[in-house]
């Protein structure tokens, strides 16, 4: 193998599994250490800079970071990254004086944001400090988009949502709420220098099976029903409720139904349990609230008595795989009937761009989705940008935030007359953590504690009020213990060939057998020959240049504990523990810090 180029910022970035997996690349270990140090406000600001909604995301994030967490490969469960983020938000002090300054004299350029969700708000946050005048249009009475209409208050209290939405709106965004935008032409005619479309995927899919039209009043589209609950248009539901669908919306629907009077609430899903789209923890939460889940049941019909819903019939199926393709094969059993008073349909959502005229230079492609550049988020009309679910279909809040940051860069570059394809390099910093022979400026000792559970509100109490937050959050002490479970993957093991005397001390002491001194080979062979073969191809091998003995040092990054023992046992400092800080550069910022690597 060729020696690893550690000067490529992406090499060490990839070692920080959580940050790499995060669409917004939030420097997770950095803020977790700040939480452990009780520097909650600092931890909050690290988050705010990167993901804009720490309090919201600390409660609702899809957490792509957690399945990626190295801890989950070393032991059973990853660090509770998401809930630690919430701790920073819960315990922070006033941050007003840390917010960016908004120029009083504007730069004369105007940007329209269509939709008031996380993507648009992120664009506003990045553009307001640069002096833009920003107009935000949304058909809802307040900002936040689906975070307001679809995420129930028992998961995300309204005050937490409003606080973080208002941090942005209060920068001086001109808001046009309760305003339905029905024509892109009208917006473009207003002479904006750029338009950002962050309208999400607002159209819930319907279940077109026999009886559907007859029970229109008793069967609801999940996201519409959730919005009606959120805006106080709906405050009760029948005793027996069926929720159709296996995603996170279905979980929100069934749990909300439990709070609005649903006694016998069940979730019915076509697919098998393991293929459900909902996050495992959201499924757990639903089950905890006594909601059974019936898998492998395909809806057949709504059963009603002259328009009065009686229940639903389902066909039981078996999952079979043919050439890797999943097939639901009916079982030779009579259909299953479940009684119910109301049905919530949560089987997916779609985009809708009927309001965008097709003669504005905005090209549409497959599935009537706009043609959007994956990197710049620019459409084929150079003035028009898309982000969040509106760009590539439904994803999640953190993805929308990531899109927002990138779109803001593009919008700024476009308006300044720069090439939108010329993306700013990330900010990178690499600094030794050595303080003494056995001392590092981070807690190198590895905690062996198991993941701490977040305390919950008593179920009886929680089910009585849809606005009562179920999760109570970690207290300071538990947050500290959980934070200590973080392996500090951003404290990199940096190897300097010229200093190595090949004493093997690092290899001998490494608890997880990551380090090898071995004859160089091509990668497949090398992976096979390591002390513990490295069969996790997602994780890189760190290969040195040739040592005097002609061997090379090969480190399998897979389960390195970042404990620093290799560097402590190294007599010559050939190994050093260096903190790697990677930050995604935002609109209007350039990154001039050279990559300092020893």
């Amino acid at each position: 193998m060729n020696p690893t180029n550690i000067r490529d910022p992406e090499y060490f970035h990839k070692v920080v599994d959580c940050q790499y997996a995060c669409p917004a690349h939030t420097p997770v270990p950095e803020y977790i250490r700040l939480i452990a140090a009780q520097r909650y406000t600092d931890a909050y600001m690290v988050n705010w800079e990167s993901n804009v909604f720490p309090g919201i995301l600390g409660r609702t994030c899809d957490r792509p970071c957690e399945p990626a967490c190295r801890r989950g490969r070393v032991e059973d469960k990853p660090v509770a990254i998401c809930r630690l983020k919430r701790v920073a938000a819960d315990h922070k002090e006033d941050i007003t004086d840390r917010l960016p300054e908004i120029p009083k004299i504007k730069n004369g350029k105007r940007v329209a944001l269509i939709g008031g969700g996380p993507a648009s708000l992120t664009v506003a946050r990045d553009l307001m400090p640069l002096g833009y005048e920003v107009d935000l249009y949304d058909n809802q009475p307040g900002g936040g988009g689906m975070m307001r209409s679809q995420i129930p208050s028992f998961r995300l209290p309204e005050d937490v949502l409003s606080e973080e939405v208002n941090l942005i709106l209060d920068m001086g965004v001109n808001t046009f709420f309760n305003t339905h935008v029905s024509s892109m032409r009208e917006i473009l005619d207003k002479g904006y220098d750029a338009v950002f479309v962050g309208t999400g995927a607002p159209k819930g899919m319907d279940l077109n099976i026999p009886g559907r039209d007859d029970v229109a009043l008793q069967a609801h589209i999940g996201i519409e029903w959730l919005a009606n609950v959120a805006f106080d248009h709906t405050d009760k539901i029948g005793e027996k409720v069926i929720v159709i669908g296996g995603g996170n919306t279905a979980m929100d629907c069934c749990r909300t139904a439990r709070r609005l009077g649903g006694q016998d609430v069940k979730v019915v899903v076509r697919s098998e349990f393991s293929k459900m789209k909902a996050s495992p923890w959201e499924i757990e939460d639903a089950q905890h609230e006594d909601i059974p889940i019936f898998n492998n049941h395909v809806p057949l019909e709504f059963v009603h008595d002259e328009g009065k819903l009686q229940g639903m019939r389902f066909e039981k199926v078996e999952v079979q795989y043919e050439d890797g393709k999943r097939k639901l094969v009916p079982l030779d059993e009579p259909p299953v009937f479940f009684e119910c008073d109301e049905v919530l349909i949560a089987i997916g959502q779609n985009n809708t761009f009927s309001w965008i005229e097709r003669d504005l230079g905005i090209e549409f492609g497959k599935w009537d989705m706009p043609v959007v550049d994956q990197v710049t988020f620019q459409s084929t009309n150079p003035k028009v940008f898309f982000g969040g679910d509106a760009a590539f279909g439904p994803a999640n809040v953190i993805t929308a935030v990531a899109h927002g940051h990138q779109a803001a860069i593009s919008i700024h570059k476009h308006i300044q007359g720069e090439d939108v394809k010329d993306r700013p390099a990330p900010g990178v910093n690499l600094v030794s953590q050595k303080m003494g022979i056995h001392e590092w400026s981070y807690d190198s000792e590895v905690s062996h504690d198991e993941r701490y559970l977040v305390p919950l509100l008593d179920k009886e109490v929680a089910l009585k009020d849809r606005k009562l937050e179920v999760e109570l959050g970690y207290d300071g002490k538990t947050a500290y213990e959980e934070a200590q479970r973080c392996l500090n993957c951003d404290i990199q093991t940096v190897f300097t060939t010229e200093l190595c005397i090949e004493c093997d001390a690092c290899m001998d002491v490494c608890p997880t057998d990551c380090i090898n001194f071995i004859e160089n080979e091509e990668e497949v062979v090398l992976r096979d020959k390591l002390r513990v073969p490295a069969y996790n191809d997602d994780q890189d091998l760190y290969v040195s240049t040739a040592l005097p003995s002609k061997l090379v040092m090969v480190k399998d990054e897979d389960v390195c504990l970042h404990c620093g023992l290799c560097a402590e046992r190294c007599p010559t400092g050939a190994w050093d523990m260096q903190k790697f800080l990677y930050s995604v550069t935002k609109a209007g910022k350039s990154n001039e810090t050279p990559l300092a690597i020893g």
């Binding site: 490969r73 070393v74 032991e75 022979i437 056995h438 001392e439 590092w440 190198s444 000792e445 590895v446 062996h448 005397i501 090949e502 004493c503 093997d504 001390a505 290899m507 001998d508 002491v509 608890p511 997880t512 057998d513 990551c514 513990v532 073969p533 069969y535 005097p548 003995s549 389960v559 504990l561 404990c563 620093g564 023992l565 402590e568 046992r569 190294c570 007599p571 010559t572």
Partner: protein, 349 residues
Amino acid sequence: MSFTKSKFRHPKLPTNRRGFTRASYEGAISTLCAGCGHDSISAAIIQACYELELEPHKIAKMSGIGCSSKTPTYFLGKSHGFNSVHGRMPSVATGANLANKDLTYIGVSGDGDTASIGMGQFIHVIRRNLNMLYIVENNGCYGLTKGQDSATADEGSVNKKGIENPFYGLDLASLALQAGASFVGRSFSGDKNQLIPLIKAGLTHKGFAFLDVISPCVTFNNHEHSTKSYGHVRDSKDAVPLDFIAHQDEITAEYDPGSTQEVKMHDGSYIRLYKSREDYDISDPFAALTEVAKYNRQGKILTGLLHADTYKKSLHETLNTSDTPLQKLGDEDLIPDSEFLATINQSLR
């Protein structure tokens, strides 16, 4: 700050056929200087025991005094151990071995512990061919007392203070050969490919197996004009590669018999030397002595297996002790009843 090592191990750490992982053979974290050759030897012992599938509770670690003799704390944490008196490890090991011949004995000593204060004991344990592996972790200096030249420091080697050693160094491998050791090898802590098979062979050898392992002292004897530094040893040793094939191992590769020399062990295992020593027969100790001397004169270090005599009687065989370890014999075996005692007394009249 980590004077402790995490309990986490690689989740895919392989196991040997007894179900032990390499971690089952580990000990406490080392307190020696970072980069000490001794730690590397400890790691080699761990690897060798793992590969030989020994049961940790059937191993006894014996040592004297010195940096080397501290190391048994750092490996085989679940085995028996006796950290004895300076230079007296052979006596204690002899006593332990006589009481319980069922254990595998690993003695760890240093150049001070063996070549100075323990020289008398060393020679006699060889002479008796006690069944044990005796490793000298040889760094040519007294590291625990700030790096004075030891008896194995080479003539002309310069110590950390810049003073040249005026005396010639004792060659422990030659001494062992002369005293009649049935198994003699030399290796280098920085060459595990050679050291691990040698340790495995030594542990399997029935009789006294001696390994002189050059083990640089990073703190006091790893500078430019030292002859026991990582750099010097690496440059001046010849590496005769060898493999140890335990009787339970699968034979995975065939070699041209002309290019290898094999040494059969009593249990069916064998040592295979590549690039066979054309110059002498490994079963002849005098030939080995000559060869070692030849290298020494050139300022080079001859490493690998130097001599093996797998037929020589071990101490238990010579003394014709009972098959059951003495420690396991009960009162009925050891105390004769009155009738039998009378017979004995009668025979002495």
